[in-house]
């Protein structure tokens, strides 16, 4: 196998992950980045306004995600990203406008506070849809209301 191919295959198994801090997070973006650096894992780390981007081999990235999540489990959210950090095809600095996907992240960020509340107070709910009532029952209800 040629060196180019070797390099290609090593790049193939690298993944990018976005780490998003919820509004109630107990740590700031800069703290998050320093914690990531302190893990001493072979990762590319980029600080962002919502948290951080990490790039590296999949198992290393997942290891880092697991350790970082433990810091504040209900307030740290993660998401896959297709492009590597700073990719000129996506980077805001080169394109001069909001990054694709930013608007969605912005919209979902509004709900993260409530998601955190739900994660901290889990409840078991029924997935059954309310059943339809028969016309006879409906007629009875109408009659009762009219009386």
């Amino acid at each position: 196998m040629s060196p180019e191919n070797n390099q290609g295959s090593s790049e193939d198994d690298k993944v990018t992950r976005m780490i998003v801090l919820g509004p109630k997070a107990q740590l700031s973006q800069s703290e998050l980045v320093s914690k990531l650096h302190m893990l001493e894992l072979p990762l590319t780390i980029k600080a962002t306004c919502y948290g951080a981007l990490i790039y590296g081999k999949e198992e290393v990235v997942m290891d880092a995600i697991g350790q970082i999540r433990d810091l504040d489990p209900s307030n740290i959210f993660t998401k896959d990203r297709g492009f590597p950090p700073g990719d000129p095809r996506r980077c805001r600095a080169k394109r001069g406008a909001a990054r694709d996907g930013f608007h969605q992240l912005e919209k979902e960020y509004e709900l993260l506070e409530y998601v955190c509340d739900a994660l901290e107070n889990p409840k078991r709910v029924s997935l059954k849809k309310p059943e339809k009532i028969s016309p006879e029952d409906f007629k009875k209800i109408v009659q009762e209301c009219e009386e």
């Binding site: 180019e4 390099q7 290609g8 790049e11 193939d12 690298k14 993944v15 990018t16 976005m18 998003v20 959210f77 993660t78 998401k79 896959d80 990203r81 297709g82 492009f83 590597p84 990719d87 095809r89 694709d100 996907g101 608007h103 969605q104 992240l105 919209k107 979902e108 709900l111 993260l112 409530y114 998601v115 509340d117 739900a118 994660l119 107070n121 889990p122 409840k123 078991r124 709910v125 029924s126 997935l127 059954k128 849809k129």
Partner: protein
Amino acid sequence: MKIAVFPPNSLILADMVERRGHEPLVIQKEMRKKVTDPEIDSPPFNITEEEPIKGLKYAAIEVPSGVRGRMAIFGPIIDEAEAAIIMEDAPYGFGCIGCARTNELSMYYLRKRGIPVLEIHYPETREETMEVVNKINTFLDELEKPEETEGSERTGETGKTEVSKLGNEKTKEQGED
């Protein structure tokens, strides 16, 4: 289990799925294959004329090439899914998710797959969000117990036969083409 989420780039849905120990099937993984390939035939992304052809598996030839091209990327997610969470009325419609007809077609295929599907609406308030998160967690927990997966909100008891019928029709159509 491999869980397809819709919208396929949703942070909340993908994160919920991962927290419960399942694998979310997200669009970013498919996009990564298109943008990190060392040989990019059609810069800046590797979306070539092959994509609309691959999309023919999911949409007829009369369907716009944009829909077929998108289906070539969404399709593998739909095929791979063992369960699905569909969040309807999501307010964002940007980037790769910005085609309403593709979204409809993808949701249709997910429903017709005959896999357990949880359908929810995009929450707006605190109460709605908490209910949605609890529903997702309950759904994901129940997936691990196959004997209890007959919730009324799941679809697709007849899905498998319909899919096979669809498949036959499509093969015939393509054969004629």
